[in-house]
Structure formats: C-alpha cells, structure tokens
C-alpha cells in the first residue's frame, strides 16, 4: 500500500511496483489508508509523513495500536530524515526515492507473497 497525498508520487510508485508484478493500493492520507486496510491487509505499507487529515505519524501509531494491523511492516518515505529516524518503522526511504531502493524494500518484505505475473 502506498500512502501519499501527492497524486503523482502515489501514481508513479504504484506504476513502478506494478511493473515489477506487485499488487498495489493507493491511499491519499492516513484515514484513507486505515479505511482501505479494513478490506485488504497489505503485506507492506509505504507511508509519507506530511499529509492532510491524518499524517504519517498518526497512521503509524494507529496501526501499532491496532492488533489486526500491528504486524504489518511499514516503510517511511520522507525528506525529513532526522525526524523520521525516531519513529518505529522497519525501513526509511528518503525522498526523492531511488527506484532500486523502492523495489529492494518491496522485495524484502514480500518474498513469500504471490506476485501477479
């Protein structure tokens, strides 16, 4: 799942992940993400930090507090490297994100998962 309020970023990440065979879901902010996670449980969530309505930090806390979602790995995407370093997330990606980094993170957390060929 890609959570980012920037339409183009979200769109581009989804296109690139799908080109590698992953199934993707886009969410425009934290609330949107939580809502969509009720239907689908993603194997990895990319979270942007600065978003309207519910920002990345709140989304992460909400997920960690929710027994159903707390096990889902999270990759933070942010320009604010120092701030992001303090938050409990498995991986950090610094914007602008390198395509190789994005794909290797996706690869690391989804080996066991079926790929849409």
């Amino acid at each position: 799942m890609v959570v980012d309020d920037d339409d183009n970023v979200r769109r581009m990440m989804c296109v690139m992940l799908e080109a590698e065979g992953y199934a993707t879901i886009g969410a425009r902010d934290g609330l949107d993400a939580l809502e969509r996670m009720r239907d689908v449980s993603p194997s990895l969530v990319f979270v942007d930090l600065m978003m309207p309505r519910m920002d990345g930090e709140n989304l992460i806390h909400s997920m960690r507090a929710d027994a159903a979602l707390s096990a889902i790995p999270i990759a933070i995407m942010s320009g604010q490297t120092h701030a992001a370093a303090a938050w409990p997330a498995e991986t950090r990606l610094v914007k602008p994100v390198e395509l190789d980094d994005l794909l290797s993170v996706a690869d690391r957390y989804s080996r066991d998962l079926p790929r849409a060929e």
Binding site: D6, N8, M12, V15, E20, L49, G79, Q80, K95, V97
Partner: protein, 754 residues
Amino acid sequence: MSTDRSPDRARDYLRLVFTQIPGALWATDRELRLTLVHGRTPRLDEKAADRLVGQTVYEFIGTTDPTEPAIAHHLAALAGTRQSFAYDRRGRTFEVLIEPLLEDDRVVGCVGAAIDVTERRVEQVRLERSEARLAEAQRVAHVGSFEWDIANDRVTSSEELWRIYGIAAGTPAETLDVALSRIHPEDRPGFRQALLETARDRRPFRFDHRIVRPDGEVRVIHTVGDAIGDRSGPVPRVVGSCWDVTVQHDTTARLRQSVAMLEATLDATADGILVVGSDGRIVAHNRRFLELWRVPPEMINKADDATLLSSVAYQLEDPRAFREGVRELFDSPEQHAFEILRFRDGRVFERFSKPQVVDGRVAGRVWSFRDVSVRERLLQRATFLADAARLLASLDTERALASFCGIATPFLGEYCVIDLLQNGGAHRIVAPSAGALAPLPDAHRFALNGHSVIFAMGHRSVLAVPLLVRDAVSGVITLVAAPERTYSKADCTFVEELARRIALSLDNARLFESAREALNSRDEFLAVAAHEIRGPLTSIHLAAQGLLGKSLSAEAARTALDVIQCEDRRLGRFVDDLLDLGRARTGQLYLTLQDVDMGTIVRDVVSRMAADCAAAGCAVSVNTDGDLMGHWDAVRLEQVITNLLSNAIKFGPGKPVAITAEAVNSRVRVRVTDQGIGIEPAMLPRIFDRFERAVEARHYGGLGLGLHIAKTIVDGLGGTLVVDSQPGHGATFTLELPALRSNHEDQGTHHGRR
C-alpha cells in the same frame, strides 16, 4: 579801746601788742647779741623772752658755726641784705624775716621776725603728697579725673586725663565747651546732656564716649561721675573719673560680633545642630534643627534633652532604637558616632554625634543632623532603576513584570498592580499577591487614555501611569501608597520613567516574539518548500528511472511521461509563485491591463482545474450574473481565482465549492465559498500574510503563498479581498474589483500599486 596817749601807756600798749604777736620779734646788735625779744610761741612766753635778752644768737642756736642757716642769715642781714627763709627748729617750722637795723644808714644790728608755720606746712605737705599719690594712682590705673566748677564754668583735668587725651600735661583749666571739644562730635551732645542732667538731678552718671586725640586717633572712654555739693541749693561741681576702654570695647565688640557671627553661621548652616550639656540641658541649637525635627521654638527653650527626645522620637521608623542609641551615647561621653535615621514619612537624616570639648574637658555633646532624603531617594531610585532594568531585560515578560511588582513594593507603594492590555483582553499582575488590599483599584480611565493620574482611594494615595508602547496604551501600572504616604509629582515623574522602561521591555519582548515567529514562519516555509519540491522530484525521479532502466509496458510508460509533464508544470508554477512573492515584496508586480470578462476567467479556471477538483471530490458550481467586464490583468486574475479555488478544495476536500460572480454598483464581486474546516477567528487578520497558514503545514502542504499573492494582485488592481469564516463552517473569500472600462489609450503595462 581808749586812747590814752601818755608815753607810759604807749610803751605798755606796744609791749602788749608785741607779747601777743603769734610768733617772735627780736633785735640784735652787731655782735648778734639779742637786745630785744618779744613774742608768743608754744616755746616762748614773756618770761623766757626777757631771759633771752643779753644772750647772743650763737648761744640761742647753740653753735658758732657761721654756716648754720639761722646764723648765716643773721650775718647776711648784718651785711645789709634782707633775709627771708623757712627754718626748722625742734620739730617746728618757722618763716623767718631778718633785716639789717639801720641807724643813719649804718648797720647797727639786725631785726628779725619769725612766725610758726608748722601746722600750715604739715597740711601743705600732706596735700602735696596726696595729690602726688592720686596722680600716681591715676597714672598707674590709667584713670583720669576732671572737675567742672559750674558757677565759674571751669573744668580742671588731672594729669592722667591729659595723658588719656594725648595732650601734654599741664594745660590750665578751661571752659566746658573747650573741654568738650575733645569728645567725638557724635558723642558730644550726649556727654553734655549727661553732665547737665547730673547737675540738675544730683544723680551719678555713666557714659561711654569716644574722644579724638590731636593725632586723630579715636579712643573709647568710659566716664563715671557725680554731682558734689550740699543737698540744698544749686550743684556747685560735677566730678568724674574717666578711663580708656578702647581695648575692652574692641574686645567686647569683637566677642559680641563673633558670637553673633557664630549664631548667624549656625542658623545659616544646612545642618540642624543641637548642643546638650553634660547635665542634659540644651546649651545651643539652631533654626535648622527646629525645622528638621519639627520642634516648636517655644518648646526648645523650656525642654531639657530628655523631654525633647521623647517628644520627637515618634517621627522615626524605630523610635525605641533611636532613644536607646541616644542614651548609650550619653553614657559614653567620649564616643563619636554616625548614624542614618529613617523617618516614617520617608525622610532620611544623617546624624553625627561628637563630644563637645571645652578646655580639654568634655562639656557635653554636639549633635548635628543632615537631611539626606533627596540624596537617599536618588540613590534608592538609581538602585531601583538598575534592579528594574535588570529584571525587565528578560524576554519572559510575565515573569519580569511579576518580579518588578515584587521589588516595587514597598519601595514605590504598598501595592503594585500592572494591567496589561493584549489581544483585546486585560491581564492583571499584582504584588504583593498575598494579603492584598481589597479591592485593589481598577486601571484608572485617565491612565487607560494615556495620562498619568494621582487620586485617592479611601485614605490611600494611588498613582496610575500608562504603559505606552509606540504611543499606544498597552497597559497601566497602578501603585497604592502605604497609609502615611502621599504621592507627589516627583513620584509620578519617576514612575513614568519606570513605565517607559517597562513599555520598552514589553516592546522588546513583542519584537522578539514577532521576530521569532517570522523565523519560525520562514523555517516552516523552507520545510514546506522542500516538501513541495521533493514531491514532484520523487515522481519525476521514479518515472525517469523506470523509463530508462525497466522495460515498462506502453501504458506504464505513458503514465510515466504524463507524470513528468505534469510535475514539470507544477514546478514551473512553483517557481512563478516564488518569483511573484519576490516581486510583491519589492513592489515590482507588473500588471498588464486590458478589458476582461470576469465570467470568462472564472469558467476558464474551473474548467482547467476540473481534474484537481474531481480528485479532491469537490463539486464546483459557478453562477455569473450581469456585466462582469473590467479593465484588469487577465493572467493575474486567473492566478487569483486559481489560488482561491485551490485553497477551497485543499481545505474542504469532498465538499462542494460555490463560485458566484456578479456586478454590484460599478464593481464586480466574486465569491468563493467552501464548506471546509474554516478559519480560527485569531487567524483571520493574518491569513493574507506571507507564509501564513491557518493550520499546521504537516497536514496541509503548499507554501501558504497563494492567498498572499492573490491579495497582492487584487490590491494592485485597486480591489479588495476579504475572508469570512467560522471554524467548522467553511470560508467565503470575497473579491471586489472596480469595473472601470478602458478608453483605449489606457492600454498598456502598469505598475502595481504595491
């Protein structure tokens, strides 16, 4: 007496006469043999006289020595010369006359006569001696004397008086006028009057007068005199004694003068002085002492020190300590002391106390008091100002003012209240916080209007001074005096000075706060700008890497290219925004004016942003009404509408946005109404400021420049842009522009007004 002329009777009569002569008569022959002796002296009677006849003078005297005076005179008489001399014999003194006895021009003997003058001589000698003694006494005592014989108008003066007059002794008696001519002209009438009154009233007189000596020197003479004579009848004489008192007079005058000068000096000195004898009596004081201690003059003459002390001590802050200190000093007479005395009314004295030493012995104690209230007050104020300045230098205004109020009491008053007017409300700081007088006065309306005021609240004096920050009243400092104190103009001036410093401190704190806010805004802006750039950069980065490195499907490749193009435009707009911001700041926002239809602009913008609106879930309705033509800059107006619409969908996603455009009284009004989160009232005035946003940047991206740029453009076009909003109920931005048409020459490029 009968006149019997018979020869016998005549001889008997002659003999009778001779024998009764008060003295002696005798005759001698040439050998000095006594041929006749008559007379009656204490040692010579008739019988003795008869027995002497026939004796020689030599035998009578008892010597033949021709140099013996009596013998010598007899011999000289025999020689033909008349002899007259005084002769002492057996304790008696005689005046003796011896003449030659002539018979046919031939000396046949001598005739002598002697009269006993012993008594007269003794009297004379005594008189001479007493006069000499008087003169001597007068000379030694420098006392002269005079006697005025009134009937004869004769003044006789003693030798010493002449000496006093500086005139050689021996000037004969003179008239009163002449005698008075030596008296100093100014004293002359008085002296004459004194003499005349003495003569008239038989009363002693005493008179100080000056004389002028022949050499011009002026001396001061003291004369005492009295009338001499019987009780009845006119006074025959006035006598007087005079002595020169110039030296005493000068000394006395000098003494009197120096005492007067001392008194004048004491009275002129700024210090209050009190001299107390060892016995506790008040020996001396000056006027200043009475003033300083507020002692009634009639009291100081009656009181001793103990009474005085107990009647003035109440004025002091600590009367008991004062009294004890005084007692201790009186118990140690030698001790010097210096002390500061504080009065209940705020006055401060310096007290010096030293033993008064007369002829090497302590005779009492000298107290001097100096009113140093002004100096003390200035010093206290300087110290206070320094402390206050140190406190007020803090940028934590709240704490600084609380500390300030703390040190202001009790120095400036019993209570200190500062009312701060900020953000439309009032905030009150009070010291001391505990046990405050209830109720403390409200900020006085004069002070709220910018004027200092001293007023009374019950029995308390109250001083209120405005805190003026850049000519605006931003608070009031109110001081309530302790019960005895009344505020003066000097207090007011001082507190105004303090108020200036407080105001300066408030201003500094506000400037610092706004500077910090500006810095925060700038930091936030930079963070947002970085985010705004990082978004497109990320998209382009991923798209380019995907296109270069991966074999994308045709659809994915198209998407990637679309994204690159889209982000390229977005970055372009962003750069334009930054440039506009710079131009707006420096007033270089260029406007290209032409006839424009607002309806067209609105519809164009809505249609261009349709995708964005749809993505945000916002349905946009457009209503236009009437003639919406104006002479404006079309491109800039599109920018304004775009920014307003972007704002609406950004803060009200998923909610409808309504845009209306209408003509109102030669103006064109455009309203953009959203149903978003709305704006806090406090933020409304600032929403068009640079870098301002009503919400945290973390939730809502964007530079916060849109509204600022829109407002700048509208101002430049001579229009207005205002906002009306309530939190949770959306916002309405209202744009109004003058609908003036061009008259063709007016086309061209204009400077914006800003």
